[in-house]
Assembly symmetry: D2
Homo-oligomer: 216 residues x 4
């Protein structure tokens, strides 16, 4: 039976009028390497965002889930290695909620590693000409909330489904009103990177053994 | 009579296999707002680069000259405000020459300001969704060599011709093998920015009076 | 009975002739707020570094352990929130070993949170005029190896002992031969920051509930 | 007869309560290599700042003038190579004035190069363990206003007096409330750098012929 991929992207937040994560996701093809692609936009709200992801998992029964969010200031596409059991907002979410270091799952472990092959994904994007690197922090905002809750849900309630998170930079258009040094990426480049990354995730059950570590 | 624009872009240097400046220039349309566009690739060599620019000026008799170069590490398209009478290379040029603080023109003034409307150009690019900012240093390498020598040539030998320089970031493809924080821009975005900037340069004989200064 | 603090700092690595972590640690006073301070220099070697830390714990029987390492490129003192079960070296360690994504503890959890009050420590340093921020990634090199292994050792073999890790920037002297944009900090400023941070760690059994999160 | 040095530093601006430029200058010794050191605090106001410098020149009759300002965001001490004939403020000065690209001297040349040996000064600071680099833009704010007007005054009204400008980073204390990536430097390190730089300026009538250029 054909495999199915669920890809989510966030609505705008932080005063922006667009979110490149959702723009990049919505432009993905409806099938990648024979796998069907379901796309869902989710809110930038602690708790409600992971609920929307799990509702989509129950509706779509995917084999693989990739949630995508914006990391303004980064220069590359960055598959995330780890999600942590901590919700801490330097700015309020889109419902006005601003946690100060709460547990996402009171009885959950401190962290979960992504179950997608993040190194193979970064490598495949780079080889396709799309700047990419593995990241070792997804922050503590709604992106990490979604990543940790997704991996907790998959580990405890959806055995066999693999999942992870990927951050995208600001879109080119957003950088026009930001400081001169702010990196950005065109949305078509992001979409091509996501397509290649998902293809690599389908192809690799296990990650490749190359070093992508960071000294600190 | 129809106006004519001369646009130059550099060959690759510093170990790279492409130079986004030339890639962006070569993809420009052959006419912008009714003005004919002549495109010339020039070498990354002190002295020989400005000679190639001046030979093209004599051949093409343009009304307006824009030289384009790569500024790896910048995040935006940056029309340059000033070229200085100083050649100083942290790396050798493509002929192996590495000056340590020589005058470009022994009897020339310390600097020339661009005679293109750099603020109007940056503003027009930003409004078109292309990240842009006025820059107040073109460095001391072959880019500045071309800018200073061009403005000296226009001031002393080609009255009435306006000229300037514009730096572009790394192309998206180049950033794949560079550190995670390295900004880049897609070549089609650069070409669109150049087209809009040249249109603004044609439209504004005088620059607009908005602040684009930098605190330091 | 008087409390005891164990503080460790690394030897030089990566071609440098000094390590500001050890320089800052060795200059600490022998007592802080009545607690005795034991200082130990440890090697930049996967596996051997955490062994040296645990040997010192067994020898000194501290109430509180803070390991300190260099994070070249950072601008502030950064108490680390989390250590992850992953050893991955972009460069070899001082014994020439370069893991490519191995588990530090084959049966350990994916991560441990520091058991020191990292927010209170960052806040106290800032109030004392020393730039500080909580960090949410300790990387994947020997610093993280020490942090994860320390927290695993404390959780499984040394109940009641609290521990954590703190990264320091390059020392002022090191930055002279590094690129113009490289941040650094004077070693006396680091030592003063460490002293204030350890004082805060002694004073706070529980961390303060302020937001120090990062958006991504 | 003993030589005399005039060193100026700015008052606070931009919402800060201290200016590290003046703090570093005021802590200089009263004599360097036998030359007397006169120190003057000047306002962050276009026009009035260079007037204060010239009044001090007339009062003190120095052989050498170094004006010092803050360049928040830089990581090193940066002697400036060139001042340009342009006043352009991204923020208003301390009198509320915000020029949008005016000439500083209506009939002055586009730029003046510093007449201090900036390369020798940067080299001497680095050798003394103080991070330093030559800078090729002093911006367009009051710092550049002072630098350009100083060099114009020396060239036209004070023959034989050498002059220049040097930018300092944020002080360590200022960075506590700035973003995590903001570089800073301790004021004692700045003062030591200034002392060494002034010593080098006294020793070198001509600059050294080493490359300190920037690619862009």
């Amino acid at each position: 039976m054909a495999r199915k991929i669920l890809v989510t992207g966030f609505e705008p937040f932080g005063g922006e009028t667009m979110n490149p994560a959702w723009e990049a996701v919505r432009a993905l093809p409806d099938a990648i390497d024979g796998a069907q692609v379901a796309k869902v936009e989710i809110p930038v709200v602690f708790g409600r965002a992971p609920e929307a992801v799990e509702a989509a998992i129950e509706r779509e029964s995917p084999d693989l889930v990739l949630c995508v969010g914006q990391a303004g200031g980064r220069a590359k596409l960055t598959p995330e290695f780890v999600g942590i059991n901590c919700a801490d907002g330097r700015i309020p979410d889109n419902d006005g909620y601003q946690p100060a270091g709460e547990k996402i799952e009171p009885d959950g472990p401190d962290a979960y590693f992504a179950t997608l092959p993040v190194k193979a994904m970064a490598q495949a994007m780079s080889e396709a000409g799309v700047p990419a690197d593995v990241s070792y922090t997804a922050g503590t905002y709604v992106c990490n909330d979604v990543m940790y809750a997704l991996l907790h849900a998959l580990a405890t309630r959806h055995p066999g489904v693999r999942g992870g998170f990927l951050h995208v930079p600001y879109a080119t258009e957003q950088a026009t009103h930001l400081p001169a040094v702010t990196p950005s990426m065109s949305v078509p480049t992001m979409t091509e990177g996501l397509r290649v990354a998902l293809s690599a995730a389908l192809a690799h059950e296990e990650d490749v053994a190359v070093s992508t570590g960071i000294t600190h």
